[in-house]
């Protein structure tokens, strides 16, 4: 077991059973989250990134199910645990920050109670005074004034609520925080400060963060590595500098060029043709092929595997000989 990998996701598939049949929101996704890194997971709406985030804590209920895959978190495959043991892991080892903090916080509970309840559920031996002390310290560390711990959620602003969410994750010294669109509902200055906070937490607590967002600017600001999802599959994965400087997958390339960059003096925004596919009837072969400017015959037929293309940078695209070679190797193996 490689020690610097905190969470190894192997061949994860999450299916939704709808009235129209079953849809694979996440299909055969494999990736590693390294200890102490901030991994940015980007994609447009409907690509499956939020589903993936929730699957990592086995949070899905009802129509969604993990139908395949292994979730090796810190040396254990979470898929082998009985579902009733998951609450011990949630909060204590993996924390989650959601998009809209207003709906994830209990409106009739004070912030203090939120935190102390979380702590005392997982560590029942802790006394009330100790739990309160820890809560106050935590909240202050996150930039909220101590007195405000007695506020109710509606008395706080959006940015502060998000900080409270993080504090809940940190209160139990979680190893991994999954942040699902944490800044989408925030104003841009508040967002910037929140991202600063995440970076500080990464440095000070060695926190590992999976940052899920559709905003690649946010990912560029604080991530160490970036993963790009398209239509339930991973398109590209690599160091953030590498991927931004030379994106390998045509979708990533198009995405980079279609996002406005305030630092650039001029330039037009690239317009991507077509639309993301309907996942109940995805296109055959590479999911991006109907919109790809470099489409080849093989793209229409075979699904390209995610393979290393240049150094540590992985892409799922037939354009690259290493991808072709690796898949032929696997075929003959």
């Amino acid at each position: 077991m490689i020690d610097n990998i905190l969470y190894s996701i192997r061949n994860l598939t999450v299916e939704y059973t709808t009235r129209a049949g079953s849809v694979k929101a996440v299909e055969d996704v494999s990736m590693d989250i390294r200890r102490g890194e901030i991994l940015g997971l980007v994609g447009e709406s409907g690509c499956g990134k939020s589903t993936l985030g929730k699957a990592l804590m086995r949070l899905h209920t009802g129509p969604a199910r993990i139908t395949e895959g292994e979730l090796w978190f810190d040396g254990r495959d979470l898929m082998t645990l009985p579902l009733k043991d998951m609450p011990d892991i949630r909060g204590a080892e993996i924390g989650m920050v959601f998009q809209d903090p207003m709906t994830s916080l209990n409106p009739v509970q004070r912030i203090l109670e939120h935190i102390t309840e979380t702590i005392q559920t997982h560590e029942p031996e802790i006394s009330d005074t100790d739990a309160r002390k820890r809560a106050e310290e935590l909240v202050e560390r996150l930039g909220i004034r101590r007195e405000r711990i007695m506020d109710y959620p509606h008395q706080m602003s959006g940015g502060m609520r998000q900080r409270v969410m993080i504090s809940l994750a940190l209160s139990l010294r979680a190893k991994l925080v999954i942040a699902d669109e944490p800044t989408t509902s925030l104003d841009v200055i508040v967002e910037a400060k929140f991202l600063d906070l995440l970076k500080e937490l990464q440095k000070e607590f060695g926190l590992t963060i999976l940052l899920i967002t559709h905003n690649i600017g946010v990912v560029a600001e604080i991530s160490d590595r970036i993963a790009v999802m398209y239509a339930a599959k991973l398109a590209e994965l690599g160091d953030v500098n590498d991927v931004f400087a030379h994106p390998k997958h045509p979708y990533t390339q198009a995405l980079m060029r279609s996002v406005p960059n305030i630092k650039l003096d001029s330039g037009e925004l690239y317009k991507m043709a077509g639309a993301p596919p309907d996942l109940s009837h995805p296109p055959a072969g590479c999911r991006f092929h109907p919109r790809c400017p470099y489409v080849m015959d093989i793209c229409r037929v075979e699904v390209p595997p995610l393979e290393a293309v240049e150094g540590d940078q992985l892409a799922a695209c037939w354009l690259y000989p290493s991808v072709l070679a690796k898949s032929q190797e696997k075929m003959h193996a």
Binding site: I189, A192, D196, H214, G217, V240, S258, P260, N261, L269
Partner: protein, 352 residues
């Protein structure tokens, strides 16, 4: 009742370099939303009902043919201002002059007719389309109201034409669909079509691409700019995203807590920032380039509430260059450079 503030006597921000005529002139617009308080509470306050000061003394001029950006965070009052310009809200005080006509002086019937020339595109296209009307009916409705001389067939022709203009082909298919049957990007096109069907001169676009997918935004922006060229439109482009504004706006105004901080040509404002808030905003925008990560710290605190904004300059508690008088004297909007206005006492410091 609004509390009295001195009305600023300074020139209204406009673009003197252009020859284009004035299309929209907004002067000292205010919009205060009174908060309901109990009968006895209002007695205690001394007869003054607290109000949310959404827009507080804003003036500017929009010239024909330009894209005038209005940027700000939540609580800045930009959406309220957009609606005030179109008279979808009645201002508490101040005037809006559209193409020479003072909108307050005309009768409600005349105002209704005026609407054929000034339209709005809302942020959420699904919410702004009547779920019980087909797309064709929705687009046709303004034509029914304002172009009574057209026969039904001619109106339908016009609608199909407009649908093609916004890129919905084949138009006859889309004519009889309902809003929930098409995608978000397509809906926004339909909303654009509805706004265009009466040949308006002026369109207020309130965060028009905020709810669209990233890959669709560029297409929509492109469409809007093409339509502007083709139909000789003028836009008031309201947004919170300064990166997008950069791609489409000619001039831009930055708002904070109901007041204008800075107004000027876009390149000037972005390159020669004259207000600490604008600078913070520009710095805060996430840049999709990991080699250009932000190093500047952000202003402390958060946006205060608009009921009791900080006295003097509203931004002073968070401002890195604030001096003692900033908490006392409200900075007037002044023209520091040609066409470039700022409401900061010490804007010159930023020039260095």
């Amino acid at each position: 009742m609004p509390e009295s503030t001195t009305v600023s006597m300074n020139p209204i921000p406009m673009d003197k370099s252009t020859e284009a005529a004035e299309l929209v002139r907004v002067e000292h617009i205010r919009k205060f939303f009174p908060i309901q308080s109990g009968f006895f509470a209002s007695l205690l306050i001394g007869g003054q009902i607290p109000a949310v000061k959404a827009v507080d003394d804003v003036s500017f001029i929009i010239h024909k043919g330009e894209v005038f950006g209005l940027a700000g965070e939540s609580g800045s009052g930009k959406s309220t201002l957009g609606r005030l310009v179109l008279r979808l809200l009645e201002p508490t005080s101040g005037t809006v002059v559209f193409d020479g006509t003072d909108l307050e002086s005309i009768s409600p019937e005349e105002m209704r007719r005026m609407r054929s020339r000034m339209q709005i595109v809302f942020q959420d296209p699904l919410a702004s389309l009547n779920p019980r009307m087909t797309l064709g009916e929705a687009i046709e409705h303004p034509a029914q109201i304002h172009m009574p001389k057209l026969s039904a067939a001619e109106r339908r022709e016009r609608v199909l034409e407009i649908l093609s203009e916004v890129g919905m082909s084949p138009p006859t298919t889309f004519y009889s669909l309902y809003p929930h049957q098409i995608s978000g990007g397509q809906r926004q096109r339909v909303v654009l079509a509805r706004a265009l069907v009466t040949h308006p001169a002026f369109i207020v676009a309130d965060e028009p691409i905020a709810m669209a997918d990233v890959s669709v935004r560029a297409l929509l922006l492109d469409l809007m700019m093409n339509l502007k060229e083709k139909f000789d439109l003028t836009y008031l482009f309201i947004t919170h995203d300064l990166a997008t504004a950069k791609y489409v706006c000619d001039r831009i105004a930055i708002m904070y807590l109901g007041k204008l901080c800075e107004v000027g040509p876009l390149t000037d404002v972005y390159q020669t920032v004259l207000h600490p808030y604008t600078r913070a905003l520009l710095e805060a925008v996430p840049v999709p380039d990991p080699t250009h990560r932000r190093t500047e710290p952000m202003p402390p605190g958060e946006i205060p509430n608009a009921i009791n904004p900080p006295p003097g300059c509203h931004f002073h508690p968070r401002c890195p260059i604030a001096r003692p008088n900033c908490s006392i004297d409200e900075p007037p909007l002044r023209e520091l450079r040609p066409g470039h206005f700022t409401a900061c006492h010490y804007a010159e410091d930023l020039l260095k």
